[in-house]
Symmetry: C2
Subunit: 364 residues, 2 copies
């Protein structure tokens, strides 16, 4: 049967039916929102995530729904973006909620718990597990609606001036690290330091701190920390799949036309995958530059990982006893993680292992 | 500074500016498209990917852009969906392009090459590497525009009636497998069989074939193949991150209003992540059911993987010599894969390895 007779037999129209349909007049509400970014423009790839959402929303509405991305200080300082979006001073924010975990520990869980879900598992839990329902319940209690809108993958463990051979080497180590990870590091002997990122370089140079974590190869290379700390450790066991959230003032979100809500949902999902893809595409070159600078790559030793794993389990139980939102989401995530790491061994992880072996053998 | 004085000082309006803005009359073209699915409704999770795109597009346009998903046979039979969308008989299709690889080998590459990119790498290559440009060039030469709109993760290697201990056990083995993977299996001694999925159960039962691959745990459990084949092998080294594509007739796509094109782009990106999340959330339970049925899980042995890896390299070189589109995309993907498997060891893979160890030790 040739193609024409097949289509005739199937009774299908061959001319574009779509062209003959009428135009519909729809009323589009002009909406102008401000999205306050926690990240400055110098975090190019993360900052671009907020701009990506704005572009997608604008294109999907012919500009009727306009989101103006504001760098820290333009609308509100970085540390106030959560307050501002909760108060409705800005309609939206783009932030790692974990930075606000001292207000409520579920803000940490929404981004990443130490030894938590990797990026793919985080998506599975949020989009198709109980994650969206559980986090939406929490966010609503805070006057927010939130969607993951970016991920950076498993981050690097940081820059160390000295080789860290064993858990003992961490004792008293002045380590620039924040959030829930700082608590875990403290429990295993380190001395966490709060320090603005702009001050890290000189603090390392002047021996005021021994180590500092920032993000991954791309953002770290830009800071030039390899000049003041020789050892670059991995992985950031506290940041396996850190989600960056688009946060919306709940009342303002509810007041949006359903069409705009749908567009926002798709734009954030696309931006979520887009940021991960962007890091994955750019990180290899940055990592090569870092290694070319003379940096020594080092994995954290097993005793450090084991101690941190145990310390984190204890910490999360403490947090669960304090916050019902955290408890519910944590228990659910634990079950999900257990299943996910069972599943991955039968397929993805086995495949990746074979390929890693090929890579090391120079066969790729 | 308390919150109120901070906001007053910052000169920010506290009332919702968005509410005061005027409505704009926009003209929306009513567009009705048909999307012919390669998969029948019995492939619930994959079929749902096409419906997911349709729902997202409808919600983002208040129904003005309507995509009617058609099961195989409703508009065109599964094996004709590519012809139909190229001819414009239907505006869109939802298919693994690899099924049409004999028309042009780049159709195989667009889905997954054996020992190719895992799902996250496939996204990175497409969205932020050269993938989109290279595949769009190829698709355009075929009268198509294509977007990844789903992924199923690393698939299972199939159901075997006998234990496959070494490469020798593959010799002459009647293995139901299609596509480029069949060529690789043939090169290492197996005897690939073409067989419709509905005939696989009885063929295994009657000893007409020795083995059959289908997809992953969720879809495989639904077929009940564990009753007729005891050994379930992994991983499908030919399907590490198989992309399911939304394919559009190029002329019809170009004729869409730019707003609808943007909405389609976001909907497909969201559906892409959504399908992966759906499989990841559902596969663990299916895998447990399969194991509970008495099925023996088995990894392919190293000699089989090594032989298949070498055979695939040779095959891809042959294909590259025949198709300039394939050659260009393949060479680009090889470089991307090499970088990606270098990068993953410094972060993601190391983290996953620690977690896999915890899972096996019963600590998750």
């Amino acid at each position: 049967m040739d193609r024409r007779s097949f289509f005739q037999k199937a009774g299908l129209a061959t001319a574009g039916a779509a062209m003959a349909t009428p135009a519909i007049a729809q009323v589009s509400q002009k909406v102008v929102w401000r999205m306050a970014s926690y990240f400055s423009r110098s975090f190019e790839t993360i900052y671009a995530g907020a701009e990506d959402i704005a572009r997608r929303v604008a294109e999907a509405t012919d500009g009727a729904f306009e989101i103006q991305v504001k760098a820290p200080g333009d609308a509100v300082p970085a540390e106030r973006v959560l307050d501002a979006v909760r108060a409705g001073t800005v309609e939206a924010a783009f932030a790692p909620t974990s930075e606000f975990w001292e207000i409520e520990p579920t803000y940490a869980l929404a981004t990443a718990l130490p030894f938590g879900l990797n990026p793919r598992m985080a998506n599975a839990w949020f989009y198709q597990g109980n994650g969206k329902a559980l986090l939406s319940e929490f966010f609503a209690s805070q006057g927010l609606y939130g969607l993951p809108a970016g991920n950076a993958g498993t981050q690097m463990g940081g820059w160390f001036r000295k080789d860290i051979g064993t858990l003992d080497d961490l004792k008293g180590l002045k380590f620039r690290i924040s959030g829930i990870a700082a608590k875990v590091l403290e429990k295993i002997g380190a001395s966490p330091q709060k320090l603005a990122i702009d001050d890290v370089y000189s603090a390392l140079e002047r021996n005021q701190i021994d180590a500092a974590r920032h993000l991954g190869p791309l953002d770290d290379a830009a800071l030039g920390l390899y000049r003041v700390a020789k050892y670059y450790y991995y992985p950031a066991f506290w940041d396996a799949g850190p989600a960056i959230h688009a946060l919306f003032n709940l009342e303002k979100y509810k007041a949006l036309p359903p069409r705009y809500q749908a567009i926002l949902e798709d734009a954030c999902a696309a931006a979520n995958t887009g940021m991960m893809a962007s890091y994955d595409a750019k990180n290899p070159r940055a990592l090569r530059e870092i290694v070319a600078s003379g940096t020594q790559l080092r994995p954290f030793t097993q005793d450090i990982l084991d101690a941190a794993f145990a310390a984190n389990n204890a910490l999360c139980l403490e947090l669960a006893s304090k916050s019902p939102y955290f408890k519910k989401a944590y228990v659910d995530q634990l079950a999900f993680r257990k299943d996910a790491y069972m599943l991955t061994q039968v397929g993805d992880y086995t495949f990746d292992t074979f390929m890693v072996i090929q890579q090391r053998a120079g066969k790729l």
